[in-house]
Amino acid sequence: MAALSPLLEGLAIAVAPLNIGLVLSGVIVGTVVGMLPGIGPINAIAILIPVTFATGIPPESALILLVGIYYGSQYGNSISTILLNVPGTASAVVTALDGYALTRAGRGGPALAMSAIASFVGGMCSIIALVFFAPLMSNWAIRFGPAEYFALMVFAFSALSSFSGGSLVRGLAATGLGLWLATVGLDPQSAIPRYTFGRIELLDGMDFVVVTIGLFAVSEVLYLLEESEGGQSVSASFGRVMITFRELADSSWTLIRASSLGFLVGVLPGAGGTIASFLAYSTEERLAGSTGKFGSGDLRGVASPEAANNASVSGAMIPLLTLGVPGSGTTAVLLGALLAFGITPGPLLIEEQPDIFWGLAASMFVGNAFLLLLNLPLVGVFVRVLRLPRWFLIPGVAAIAFVAVYAVNRSAFDLVLMTLFGVVGYLMRKLEFPLAPVVLGLVLGPLMERNLRRAMALSGGEWAVLFDSPVAITLWCLALASLAAPVVLNRWSKHNSPDESVVPTGSSDGNAA
């Protein structure tokens, strides 16, 4: 029981009135932004960082809110997927195959119920795994020196570059752009200005909130102009949001397998919810064989991706919290939030700031319970939001984005930068460049540079120090392997199946996963 006592202390934090209110707001906002195509969790989190900062709430409360949006969105993304065949985020793309087929067969209700239950199981299982593995990871990572950190960050960058878009070249270009933005401002060690274009506003560097809101939210405002016709018509009847005990029992092993897989994939950098849901779906499809109706309305085809993409969230929290190295766009924004609140995540976080870690973990249990309640009986309320016309929704998001960007420095210059990055983001999306690596580069770049320079200072300029320890060598090999993976996988899939209907290309929204 001794192992549980910090979790109970965390629970005391999580059920404080302010934090209960925040976790509830977080999961509601998360469900809504996950559900609305085009508005992902990354927008919502980036927008809320300056707002929460300005209200002066304690860091653990802010984190409870922001992470609530992250996993809440993984519940919400299946609603529009199942009812409209429009994935709310890229990690729900596979859910559309069977989810929408069920809706057309008049079984939208059971599909929604299965998705909520699967999300809940995936969420709960993976938080248990998080609570168990995060301290172990911390104990192991405590021996990491600057060289190991540098190699780990290179691995994070190479994995995200390979897996976040279709093409490795575009991923590398996006990472390069992000790292370049990271160097803007006064160099902390030599105090010379870099790439400031003579603007004093840039001496402090590019604010990641401004860049992220520009790249994601503003570019979305521009991107959606092409399909600006009205709101969506949601098929009015989806029946009762219920499944039978039999249907749940049939899916129980699917849920457990998909949750484990989702968690493991979530831990890996670059992968995230999109790849987790894709792998879980294809695994279950293969295991079911001819007994399943995968692709034409099998409840397990909804259960597996939804359990997996929810489980991947807690998985992704492990490298973020215990190493301080995020592996996706959304977790990069969360790292930026933590740093803004004066918290440096890493192996010492759990020991030195137990309130942050255990409070967050406990709040995730609470939040998942709320989400199950919200998504089973109250799903009809959320569906109403889908009926709001786009002409109101998108400009409304833009207005909230203005407030957030202005709140960062109270400067009009930031609003101009935001628009500039909105245009850049629009062009990048159009040309199929992934956006998540830009954000990861911007947030992680300064840390990577610091670790590299520290490692070199310790070794007196000897580059061999970067390849000195077994851990570092392993991480370098993983980085190389992740760069080679897309090429190898492409060959392999072309060889094996001529059918390329489902490929986990994290399109513009994949960045949010």
């Binding site: 707002v51 160097t183 030599s190 870099r194 521009l222 600006s228 109101f392 207005a399 200072a457």
Partner: protein, 145 residues
């Protein structure tokens, strides 16, 4: 094809500029052996490499929008650029109302309904952020005179 090639040229130009600028970072006292040039040089190499590959193998399925949408895009960017100009002069409520009305019109809203929705939204945002969260937003210099 052509779009990807142009993107490649852009990346090469940016990469070259980043690398050139990095060569001007002269530090008299080096606090560490590699100095402030190292990361920018890596960035320049990455951008140049990606740019050259895109120029040589410009694979893309990009479909650019038609003229009507392009006009809308220009309108939206102008509205977004108008906002920082207007904000300190007209204040948050009026500037937001104008820009949101413009954007909603581009999204196909009837002008009057768009204006009404934008007015309500701006006032609600003002009340929420300024009154409830005490987040300062500009009142507008015109109204203070």
């Amino acid at each position: 094809m052509r779009s990807a090639r142009i993107a490649g040229v852009f990346l090469v130009v940016i990469g070259a500029a980043v690398g050139f600028e990095a060569s001007t970072f002269e530090v008299s006292f080096m606090a560490d052996p590699i100095g402030p040039k190292a990361l920018p040089n890596v960035v320049a190499a990455m951008l140049l490499m990606a740019g050259f590959i895109l120029m040589l193998r410009p694979k893309t399925n990009v479909v650019w929008p038609n003229l009507r949408v392009r006009a809308k895009l220009v309108g939206a960017v102008m509205a977004l650029l108008f906002y920082p100009l207007a904000l300190h002069v007209l204040g948050f409520v009026i500037s937001t109302m104008l820009v949101v009305t413009g954007l909603s019109h581009l999204y196909g809203a009837p002008l009057r309904r768009g204006l009404a929705a934008a007015a309500i939204l701006s006032v609600v945002l003002w009340l929420f952020f300024v009154q409830m969260l005490a987040l300062p937003l500009p009142i507008g210099s015109v109204w203070l005179r």
